[in-house]
């Protein structure tokens, strides 16, 4: 199944900008997801169901997973990601 990499971007502090000194990221083993969580994540990769949030200062999440064709990345609103997965994300200073 592989790993799901997650990175928060945006927010009032500008997480994840090219010069930012603060990063917020985490990962989880896709094999450990519940069926519902796995389906929600799959839906995010398979469709445009959750376009990135354009509300001011809200977080988006950059999700990346490995596939036979290479790494696949989507950017979705934080609210579209199951809360248990969000708990895997930690903020850190560079």
């Amino acid at each position: 199944m592989g790993l799901l990499h997650m990175e928060r971007v945006g927010g009032v502090a500008g997480f994840g900008t090219t010069r930012s000194r603060i990063r917020s990221h985490g990962q989880c083993d896709l094999a450990t997801l519940s069926r519902d969580e796995a389906q929600r994540i799959e839906a995010l990769f398979q469709s445009q169901a959750a376009p990135p949030s354009s509300a001011a200062d809200t977080f988006n999440l950059r999700l990346t997973r490995d596939t036979p064709a290479g790494a696949e990345t989507v950017v979705v609103p934080e609210s579209a990601v199951p809360s248990r997965l969000l708990a895997c994300i930690k903020d850190e200073l560079l």
Binding site: G11, A56, D57, P77
Partner: protein
């Protein structure tokens, strides 16, 4: 299932989950209710913005006395407690001004002050110019390192206590979020490209202006930092003093250094990065004009934001020209003011 009814889950995801047989009936009902409400909320926010903009553009201006009377009516300012969940708005805080929760008291007090700032300095009656109620939610999520404007209200996290403290501790952050509402109801700036950078800059500019106004600081005394009051001990120990610095956007003491010249702008740059260009132009103009930032530079920037029809894709160059025109119009007998604004924009490549 509380986390699942957050208002910004896309409607098709809510609708799909409402029919998901793997969920319990109660969970499906919760998603169905959320799916039904969600487009109504979105529609209401959009309609409110459009009506406010349409009224401003098409109705005759009210007599000054009437506007003054309306502006004296007390605004509805409410505070809700998310109790560390993700459901908005959360539980209503009764009488937040005397709450035992310092965050609730502070949020109410500073939101009230921001409303007073816009009313007394710029003659604006709340975010929409028509007395819109101001709603804030506090204690959002757990150790949440953010504050945001969701299109209809302000939301504040408590911070993790290490990198960030409670986001309501920073008056500039509170004014920053509220100003996103002003921008939404006036220029209606998009949140990407140059317009996105301007959107963020407007919030930083009025955020720092409010912080200076709140403490009676002149441009000479001001530190021009954004978010200095929410940095936690871990961030300070690493030498960081702020999120951003309008006087020196690329400085190493910023958690999110920014470009300060238009030549450094890149495609797909995050609004929190590209905003440094316009931020620095404002700081240079305000310092050159001396005194208080809100007296001259602030009025010019406010005019640039509000005096024309909504411009979602406004470029930095056009905005710069609007402030040049505003300087000439507002201070027609003082050409040095227009010259100072012009020089500030030229210094950042615009």
């Amino acid at each position: 299932m509380r986390a699942c009814v957050c208002q910004i889950i896309p409607p098709d995801v809510l609708a799909r989950l409402a029919k998901d047989r793997k969920l319990t009936p109660a969970q499906r009902r919760a998603f169905a209710r959320a799916a039904k409400l969600e487009p109504e909320w979105r529609g209401l926010r959009g309609a409110t913005t459009r009506v406010a903009q349409l009224c401003r553009d098409t109705l005759p201006a009210a007599p000054v006395a009437a506007v003054a009377t309306a502006a004296q009516a007390p605004l509805s300012i409410t505070v809700f407690d998310c109790e560390h969940g993700n459901v908005l708005p959360g539980r209503s805080v009764i009488q937040p001004y005397s709450s035992g929760d310092e965050t609730a008291r502070r949020t109410f007090a500073e939101t009230t002050e921001v409303a007073r700032f816009y009313r007394e300095i710029f003659g604006r009656n709340s975010l929409d110019g028509d007395g819109m109620a101001l709603m804030s939610s506090i204690h959002y999520s757990v150790d949440y390192n953010n504050a945001f404007w969701n299109g209809g209200q302000m939301v504040y996290g408590d911070g993790d206590g290490e990198i960030f403290l409670d986001f309501t501790r920073a008056t500039d952050v509170i004014a920053h979020e509220l100003t996103h509402g002003v921008t939404q109801f006036t220029a209606g700036l998009a949140y990407e490209g140059e317009a996105g950078g301007l959107n963020e800059s407007i919030s930083d500019v009025f955020g720092t202006m409010f912080r200076q106004w709140r403490t009676g600081q002149s441009v000479a005394a001001a530190d021009w930092l954004i978010g200095a009051d929410i940095l936690g001990p871990g961030a300070k120990a690493r030498g960081y003093t702020c999120l951003r610095d309008l006087a020196d956007p690329g400085a190493g003491h910023c958690l999110a250094p920014q470009p300060s010249h238009f030549s450094q702008l890149r495609k797909a740059m995050d609004p929190h990065e590209s905003s440094g260009i316009a931020n620095h132009a404002f700081q240079r103009a305000a310092v050159a004009l001396e005194g208080n930032s809100w007296d001259i530079a602030g009025r010019i920037w406010y005019q640039g934001l509000t005096a024309t029809a909504p411009s979602p894709n406004l470029t930095m160059k056009v905005f710069a020209n609007r402030t040049r025109a505003a300087a000439s119009k507002l201070f027609s007998g003082r050409p040095a003011i227009r010259a100072a604004v012009d020089a500030a924009w030229k210094a950042v490549g615009l």
